[in-house]
Symmetry: C2
Subunit: 515 residues, 2 copies
């Protein structure tokens, strides 16, 4: 079956939210892929991966560490082993849940201008998420804390290339776990007005996040259920396991029509087969398992297919990112997502310890795979370092530049009489130069993308200026931007309501810490 | 007309060398693009650029600073202004020369195992070429000289990712210009056995280079004419000019069936219109002008379409590389080359002054545009820095790593029962790990690409090791590799003949320096 035919099949079977977003169009233009995503493997090979993953789900099965999820799946026709947590999903069950989730949907931010389309040919860039450490060159690498958390939010808020938050940029680990989500979401919703993510770490945290974005948007529960306003990343515990908090997250979010992004953590050679096809078959099995749960809870709820397959360094077992294997997996992940008519999540990843050439080339290789693979939601877009172990202030600024370059690359080239510039070529003629001609003069200020970081001075001027590296420039720029941050406006009544909610939930003791 | 239809048209009209190379197959596998190149603009827009460039050639014309070339074009039906050097090329003349050059050809090296296919879906990576300065971290940046020249040749020879020489890696400027080409080609042909480039700086230099590769290959003149063995880069003096040495180079090389790579130097906003469509229309006009000359001299001689369009920094006028504009121009350049059934040349370019994140991201963005654009010949693949103003030892090693990653990315993903690894997933099961299973153990040593530079140690180990950056690692590695260089074997009789030729030509005074 051709890709187009499969897409049509998906379309016919779609329950709701087909094609374009139903909410207001985002006011800020998101990047859109102007060409077809690149297919790394044939349709036959894609079907072989699909078939292998159905065999995995039907014959090997997966462990679902959540009684409610197992009951749900049993009722849906799955084979649930009463003596263990193993669930085998018949092909027919899996196939019946494909095509129900929307191909594209709107993710609402508290500021409508920050509302995003997720899916189709639109691309949305997240900040770094979930790093346990923060770093900048002045302060070095230190454990996550609320000050760095707030500053990374402030910094990211000033960067237009960061479209939304993909979790906490760094873990504010000095806030007690029972109330951390309340403080962290308070900061995120008041220091910024971009769309948000909520961690699936127990039912209470999901529900608190949903309630906080509802309050921040100033809408009622019905509107919230119509308008997805928060997303959660669900990682399977590869191989072939979904743990309790993650399953609870799928259930709570899907039930309220909020966004589930299912991302298996399939590192080839460690938590997945050492071969790319095998790792992708496992990734696909785990992603489809999550899809079955979400679409059983609420058919048509927004669901994103996440690909994160990479390889480990077989010498040390350390995860590697931005590798050739990562790039190929990113392309094929996109083919699989489109096979199922789902938006596709990928990442801007690297495994470097410092902001050197490695950090840059691994990041751009990751972007290459993600973007050409048709990623709709790019996690860890700005600030991710060290395989996710630290969030870097300098890298956040440098990545924002990379993301802006990618967005500019995706902007279609205009070809018309004015742009073809025959008149300018006539005016200048052989041997002349274009600096002074009218065609140049009327356009040069905005003709080309102007990066923040790239230093294009000649060698002598650059040397006289102290021979700054990109790391130096990013260090200087992040401080400037951070100093310039201003919290976006928030209706005082909404702010009061949000504050009261946080206070009440804290007084209640927050959320359990034994999730 | 669809791209496939146009390619067929080109094929029908081709005179010789259609499709696959006619010589022996290269023994070392070159990377091959496993998917269709990415089209950045529609067929209609492509035709609009084609039409605009034909209008430029017909109505504005170009200056050809070479009397013989003007006479040739006059005889071919061009409109040659007797009072100037301006030549206007009728559309019919240009169209008649399209489709004559081979779609793909073999470029022979003195070592047959280094012989390359240029065209089709094959990719060949050149070293850096033509830098006026050399640099490494220990010695800093210094004017080009023969010692650095030789050492860059030695280093590049040890790097398998460098498939051929794209000119002198650095200018050996301490050798007198009259005999520099003799010493430089002697070094290149004795310190390495990879395919070579010759500069078009006057007739004598072209002929000396052709003779030296003939001697080095140990073949007669007839074989050399059947087997292209040297290529020359022809840069137009944009806008719309071809100077005397360049035209002489096209004539001498085409006459002997050696390879002409025509690369207009169209920096948008300086030597070309500030708009991308305009700069590309001019690039195309200049490339087609060179094609007309080459295919008039010898129909069917090997010709490569070169794209180098980038933008300048409009604040300073400095050239910029690896920009979004560069990437788009690289994609569209590939579309134009395929429109004419010609192999496509692009570059691995950057404008950074030091081996920092900028050098890496600009390079990988350039590679992204070049590779996805279907480049067959990648110039400046390894070692180019500072917009071409210096060749870096460290960057050569780092780039070789990037090129190897690209080659690995292009290697097709196998999807079959063994690779899908169902048996391994059955063996490991939910919650296990794959390190120890048989499927992993039999593959892990070669499963993944192992980079030279990337440092994947954990942060603590990396810090204890002195927190090396990629620059540090490249500095260490280039010295190791340089020390390990051994000149490839050469038949003593051939070596004697080559030495005698160089001695004789030096005794004759070398080549004129007033080219």
């Amino acid at each position: 079956m051709s890709e187009a035919a499969m897409e049509n099949r998906g379309r016919r079977r779609r329950g709701r939210g087909d094609g374009e977003p139903t909410g207001p169009a985002p006011a800020r233009a998101q990047p859109r892929l102007p060409f077809k995503p690149v297919a790394a493997i044939s349709e036959d090979a894609l079907e072989a991966i699909h078939e292998a993953s159905l065999t995995v789900l039907e014959e090997i099965g997966m462990d679902f560490l959540h009684e409610g999820a197992r009951a749900l799946l049993r009722d849906a026709g799955a084979d649930v082993d009463p003596a263990s947590q193993r669930v085998r999903l018949p092909r027919a069950l899996v196939e019946s849940r494909i095509g129900l989730a929307p191909r594209s949907f709107t993710l609402h931010a508290r500021n409508p201008e920050r509302t995003l389309q997720i899916g189709g040919n639109a691309v949305a860039f997240c900040s770094v998420g979930s790093a346990p450490n923060a770093a900048d060159r002045d302060g070095g690498r230190r454990p996550g804390n609320r000050v760095d958390y707030q500053n990374l939010i402030r910094l990211g808020h000033t960067l237009d290339a960061v479209h939304l938050w993909g979790g906490y940029p760094v873990e504010p680990a000095d806030v007690h776990a029972s109330v951390r989500h309340l403080d962290a979401l308070w900061d995120m919703l008041t220091l910024s007005d971009k769309a948000i993510h909520a961690y699936s770490l127990g039912r209470e945290r999901n529900l608190d996040a949903i309630e906080m974005i509802r309050i921040a948007r100033g809408i009622d529960h019905e509107t919230l259920e119509r308008e997805p306003s928060v997303f959660t990343i669900i990682n399977s515990s590869s191989p072939l396991r979904l743990d309790g908090p993650m399953l609870e997250g799928i259930i709570q979010m899907a039930k309220r029509n909020q966004v589930v992004v299912l991302t298996p953590f399939t590192l080839a050679g460690a938590m997945a087969p050492v071969t790319l096809a095998g790792a992708l078959a496992q990734q696909n099995a785990e992603a489809l398992a999550g899809l079955v749960v979400a679409q059983t809870v609420r058919p048509g709820s927004p669901f994103v297919y996440g690909g994160f397959t990479s390889n480990v360094d077989m010498k040390t077992g350390a995860p590697a990112f931005g590798t050739p294997e990562y790039m190929k997996a990113a392309l094929i992940g996109g083919q699989l997502a489109r096979r199922y008519g789902l938006p596709y999540r990928s990442s801007n990843a690297n495994a470097a310890n410092t902001l050197d050439a490695q950090a840059a080339y691994e990041s751009v290789f990751s972007l290459w795979g993600a973007i050409m693979g048709g990623a709709n939601l790019l996690m860890h877009g700005a600030g991710w370092m060290e395989g996710g172990l630290h969030a870097s202030f300098e890298k956040m600024v440098l990545d924002a530049d990379l993301l802006d370059m990618v967005a500019n690359f995706l902007r279609p080239v205009q070809v018309d009489a004015e742009e073809l510039a025959l008149s300018a070529m006539r005016e200048v003629g052989p041997g002349g130069h274009f600096f002074g001609c009218a065609h140049t003069q009327s356009r040069y200020r905005t003709a080309f993308f102007a990066p923040m970081i790239s230093d294009w001075r000649n060698y002598e001027s650059w040397e006289e200026a102290g021979a700054p590296t990109a790391y130096d420039t990013a260090n200087r720029l992040y401080k400037q931007r951070l100093a310039a941050h201003e919290p976006p406006p928030m209706d005082p009544a909404i702010r009061d309501e949000l504050e009261a909610f946080v206070a009440r939930r804290k007084a209640e003791g927050g959320a359990p810490t034994d999730y």
